[in-house]
């Protein structure tokens, strides 16, 4: 190089600040309380009593709790797609080797319970017994007239009514919500990709909101950072805007709506997620790892990550003791975190 030449310092190597000893206190840190208002928690990242040699996970996509109080985790690791833990994190049993794209996990049924699993790689979704016996398989809904190619059906989530009807969100596919009767036949189809209020762009999750009367559907529109409320017959009702929060599936426990935020402020930003909790009036009461809610003229200011607690939170589950569990996608095969409520 001659005297006029130089190297632009554009390498990633030197762009971040150097982590120095000043930043790493030698003593174990004080216990930190996460979240605000009535939803504050202590963190237990070592909740799972297992290691990679005995329990393999890949992406930890979703969790539910069964009637026996067991915590059920769905992962796309085909060594054990479905894992049962007790609340202390002990592995009780595992099953499932045939769901390489295991993504959505719902539980339904009074008395005998059933699991509903969506698979984005096999373009199918399934109903199984709680111990893994396959009862029903749904392929792409060709009879709806909306699909000409099975690969356009990439299901991400189900919601089950008390009488066994199924709402399926095609969140990685054509963005339709397909409503099946209790026997599995199509009753209705709505949504779809588009720009209108009734449309979606990444309808990643769906649940039935039993807090409302009559009951309604809450459906994720993830790239647009919101949940959308629909009637059970598929009419658009309202949008719950959560700017800066790319929410995954809506999870309702008691009067609260919980959601993992995969990334913020858009899906382009790696490892920028957090967890968000709304009350029945749709006001954000607590954010774990993200900016505290701030309203300006009744509207939320954009959220952003404040604590690098998570990499890519993908789902939350609240157990019967109000403990909050967070499982993550693309996060170094991390086991779920457990958050214990504090007064």
């Amino acid at each position: 190089m001659n005297r006029k030449e130089f190297l632009f310092n554009s390498s990633i190597l030197l762009t971040g600040s150097l982590l120095t000893s000043e930043n790493f206190p030698g003593n174990k840190q004080e216990e930190i309380i996460y979240g605000q208002n009535e939803k504050r928690y202590k963190l237990d990242t070592n909740w799972v009593k297992a290691d990679a040699s005995t329990l393999a996970v890949n992406d930890c996509h979703e969790m539910v709790q069964d009637a026996k109080g067991r915590i059920v985790l769905l992962t796309n690791e085909t060594k054990n797609n479905v894992i049962f833990f007790d609340k202390k994190g002990k592995v009780l049993e595992t099953w499932g080797h045939e769901f390489p794209g295991a993504h959505g996990l719902s539980i339904a049924g009074e008395g005998e319970q059933y699991l509903y699993i969506t698979d984005y790689e096999k373009n199918q979704f399934y109903k199984t017994t709680i111990d893994g016996r396959l009862l029903q398989t749904w392929n792409y809904p060709v009879e709806s007239g909306k699909y000409s190619d099975p690969k356009r059906f990439v299901p991400t989530e189900t919601a089950i009514t008390k009488n066994g009807e199924v709402y399926l969100a095609d969140g990685y596919g054509a963005q339709f919500i397909v409503h099946y009767d209790a026997s599995g036949k199509i009753k209705n189809i709505f949504g779809g990709r588009g720009q209108e209020e009734k449309n979606f762009d990444n309808a990643h999750g769906i649940c039935i909101d039993y807090r409302s009367s009559p009951e309604t559907l809450l459906i994720t529109d993830r790239t647009r950072c919101c949940f959308k409320r629909f009637s059970l017959s598929g009419e658009y009702i309202e949008t719950i805007a959560l700017p800066g929060a790319c929410v995954c599936r809506p999870v309702i426990k008691g009067n609260y709506l919980y959601a993992a935020v995969l990334r913020s402020p858009t899906l382009d930003n790696n490892e920028s997620g957090f967890v968000i909790i709304l009350n029945k009036e749709n006001r954000v009461v607590s954010v774990i790892g993200g900016s505290e809610a701030a309203y300006e003229n009744g509207k939320l200011k954009p959220f952003y990550q404040t604590i690098k607690l998570f990499k890519h939170p993908h789902d939350v589950m609240v157990d019967d003791e109000e403990n909050l569990y967070v499982c993550q996608w693309n996060s170094g095969k991390a086991y779920p975190y457990k958050f214990i409520p504090v007064a």
């Binding site: 005297r3 632009f8 982590l19 930043n23 605000q36």
Partner: protein, 272 residues
């Protein structure tokens, strides 16, 4: 050594030094991550509206960090803020070129990485810019917007101009022959969107004499998105300059879009 993309004069790069520095950083990261990653949680950086500001008289920079109990500390001299740095309470107003760095601090958590805002006081000396035109759809309002002092943002394609030819060349005429300190050009890297830094960038007099030549070293593997200002020292009287940018002819082999034409994104050229 090249803080914030501004090269010191007459510098030769000691690559072995760069490698040693990288290895040290990598070892520190590996050690601390492995030691107790879950017990040592780091804060995210404060929010700010823009990481680059071009202004004529004065400008005020705001930061925000809505984490209860946390504070923002900042330094005006380009240094990394530490526990002794000033606590941010209100917008920081400056009347000269300066780099403001800010970090979040909260007891028991590792301070954030810093967010850096480059404030550049510019002179209104650019009379015209001509040359390679931006391509659709990234050509809104044409080439002149590249000197409108309205920079784009890293997470938005608004206000960015996109170029896709192997060589991009702009002729910049100043209002009169005058002594100028630096010429700044702001570029975007967003590899997932096929937006890459170029191979090299050259600054020439209107007569074709080389004033400076800069090489980039960031396209050898995946790198985070960033918007960054690169600066050429001038320190001489000039009537105008030519900027010649050599792009990669195709996206490198390691990238999923290999073989396709990469984009060059620029949003601002300013003279200090």
């Amino acid at each position: 050594m090249f803080a914030n993309g501004t090269p010191a004069k007459h510098i030769r790069i000691n690559l072995s030094l760069l490698h040693k520095k990288f290895i040290l950083q990598a070892l520190l990261l590996i050690f601390f991550c492995d030691a107790s990653a879950q017990d040592r949680i780091q804060l995210a950086a404060p929010q700010t509206a823009s990481t680059k500001v071009f202004f004529q008289n004065s400008t005020c920079i705001s930061f925000e960090f809505r984490q209860p109990g946390a504070v923002i500390r900042y330094a005006l001299n380009g240094d990394e803020p530490n526990l002794n740095s000033a606590i941010y309470h209100e917008p920081i107003c400056v009347s000269g070129s300066v780099i403001i760095k800010a970090k979040s601090f909260l007891k028991s958590l590792i301070p954030s990485e810093s967010v850096s805002v480059k404030c550049i006081k510019t002179n209104d000396v650019i009379k015209s810019i001509s040359g390679t035109a931006p391509r659709e759809p990234y050509n809104k309002n044409g080439l002149l917007t590249i000197s409108d002092k309205q920079p784009g943002e890293q997470n938005s394609r608004e206000r960015w101009l996109g170029f896709q030819s192997d060589t991009v060349e702009w002729k910049i005429d100043f209002s009169k022959k005058q002594k100028l300190k630096k010429l700044h050009i702001s570029l975007l890297r967003a590899q997932n969107a096929w937006i890459f830094y170029p191979l090299k960038m050259e600054l020439l007099t209107l007569g074709g004499k080389t004033l400076g030549l800069g090489f980039f070293n960031s396209n050898t593997g995946p790198a985070n998105d960033e918007s960054r200002i690169f600066s050429f020292p001038l320190e001489r009287k000039l009537k105008g300059v030519i900027i010649r940018v050599q792009n990669y002819s195709s996206i490198p082999d390691w990238h999923p879009g290999k073989g396709n034409k990469p984009w060059l994104f620029a949003d601002e050229i300013a003279v200090e």
